[in-house]
Point group: C2
Chain length 391, copies 2
Amino acid sequence: MSIPIPFSPAPRLLLGPGPSDAHPNVLRAMMTPLLGHLDPQFLQLMNANQEMLRSVFLTKNLLTFPISATGSAGMETCLVNLLEPGDKVTICVKGFFGLRIVDMAQRLGAQVNVLEQTWGKVFDLNLIRESLQRERPKLLAIVQAETSTGAWQPIEELGQLCHEFDTLLMVDAVTALGCVPVRVDDWQIDAIYSCSQKGLGCPPGLAPVSFSPRAVEAMEKRRSKVPNWYLDLSLIRRYLTTDRMYHHTLPITMNYALHEGLRLILEEGLETRWERHQHNHRALKAGLQAMGLTYTAQEGHQLPQLNAVRIPDGVDDAAGRKMLLEEFGIEVGGGLGELKGKAWRIGLMGYNSRPAVVLLALAALEQVLTKLGAKVPPGAGVAAANQVYLA
Amino acid sequence: MSIPIPFSPAPRLLLGPGPSDAHPNVLRAMMTPLLGHLDPQFLQLMNANQEMLRSVFLTKNLLTFPISATGSAGMETCLVNLLEPGDKVTICVKGFFGLRIVDMAQRLGAQVNVLEQTWGKVFDLNLIRESLQRERPKLLAIVQAETSTGAWQPIEELGQLCHEFDTLLMVDAVTALGCVPVRVDDWQIDAIYSCSQKGLGCPPGLAPVSFSPRAVEAMEKRRSKVPNWYLDLSLIRRYLTTDRMYHHTLPITMNYALHEGLRLILEEGLETRWERHQHNHRALKAGLQAMGLTYTAQEGHQLPQLNAVRIPDGVDDAAGRKMLLEEFGIEVGGGLGELKGKAWRIGLMGYNSRPAVVLLALAALEQVLTKLGAKVPPGAGVAAANQVYLA
């Protein structure tokens, strides 16, 4: 083979469902020379990362750390440590990632009960209560921010409800953490996972997780070894929180990135960050609606960081995304599952949730939609967004 | 909590069992802004990484790519895709990492047969032949470069031997790839895994794997789904080699690093690189022996990239490693398992296999050993190494 030249891609603005652009300081942190994974300096960094993750998850949970793989491995970590063959689990499915939880749980030999909701809508707590009463599962799993539809599931009272029935609550916060409130202790969440490449403003490669004392107790009562060695928390917790017993070699550079990403979040402040995401979302939404676009998620439950909108009739999905990418360097996401070919997903996550990004996105969308034959009132998108910013 | 300041560690020279220092060009490549994981530019990079991995593994295997986790996840990928409950597997154990394979295989419900060899020694092929004849396992697993002892297992003829008995050959090349010859096709290896942070000169976080058509056939004949979703090759191969069906979000930046690391290897040339590792090893070994140190691995089977030596009587393990780290910024590895407290493991891997590193390591070791009460002939280590270089 001929040896490729060094990689030097054309620049992009990542407004899809993730990865989102990493903060420039995070990228710079990744140039830091390596340390050994047992170097005292690196152990200190890992302790700081755990401490900062607790602050971002709003929890005191001892078992709070990044799993050394991407977000979906965080999902699998929760399931494989909490479920044994025959265990009952109720999974709330309202989009693509709920289905993924079902797939994983079935592979573990769990008795899976699926609660279904129309894609784009959220679950009513009464429906979940009835199901818990009937099924009394060991675990209930739900996605807080459904990446495939942009729907924002309220989960504030779900932990308390689950505990009435002695059920553990597992929450998917992959697209939520760092963008919208996630209060692990207040909301009594027992197992939660996220990723590094969305609200935390880092590259993909790590999956922060956290487990309540209730969840830890359930793990300690297991009758069988965790079938998955790499994600076995009984090994990982010894490595990361107690006697440093060697498990795997931590991804050093990814943890440098996480350190800087978490630092930036805490410097900004969680409340300020959530409000920033809301503010830029309101501007983007005003602009999209002024251009005639409608959201796939139900009103009142739309995620600020992931704006999924229906593609206007007659506009070609692939052609539109290609034009955005090639002419403006802007990536937006296509639809997943039921929404394939029918929706675009516009992310405003972490570093990318800012006015300059909102205005550029609307201006570029206007040009692309017009070229592809949609009737878009000229200038309306940007004008509506500016109205929000000027208010 | 108080927010930590940006991380800025004291510099290190990583001469342990890995991570080894990444090449400076690799670190620079990690500052490249992110791309979406389905961006045409990123797909091109992933294709190049697969192509370059094939060149480095010396294989035509279609299923050759990096798993999105560290080396041990590469080990688990091979096992979880090739073994089903009840399958017979023979595992050759001559150190810590052989034991890890046993642990993983047992979790999968395989019938595990262990072949044991003294730590530091290698297996004789006749012993393996007898076992294969008796057991007729589906899979035989062996570590080529045992990281815990520094022993170099010959595997050139093992593939052919395994195939006589219809057994698949799985090889652990975590510490081998990029340092010593690994010829997947010539040696008829069916499943092989490595890591990014040793011979490939990148940070930890990826596990390159490769599977022969025989191994693929065995996967396609499975009676059950792979229990581990994240490492299920039937999903990953669709994502990476055929229809780009979304599986997980690839670690973008780690793959930038791998691209640059592999490029540098191919620019240097595999044969030149292997010879470089040998040359610097000969110099280091001459120096260590002149200082009275002895290898833990048997003569004739010592890895050039991992020099495990017995700590001289009376010298304290922890004190010695601490002094090297604090006074010279040099990290060497302690002993694992049976060799805990008894050996130091000195890595000369990838970028760090060079004369400047050898001379500094010997000079610093002389000072540390002398301070800790060992009788070391002054200047003998460096003189012996220089003799090799000047020859």
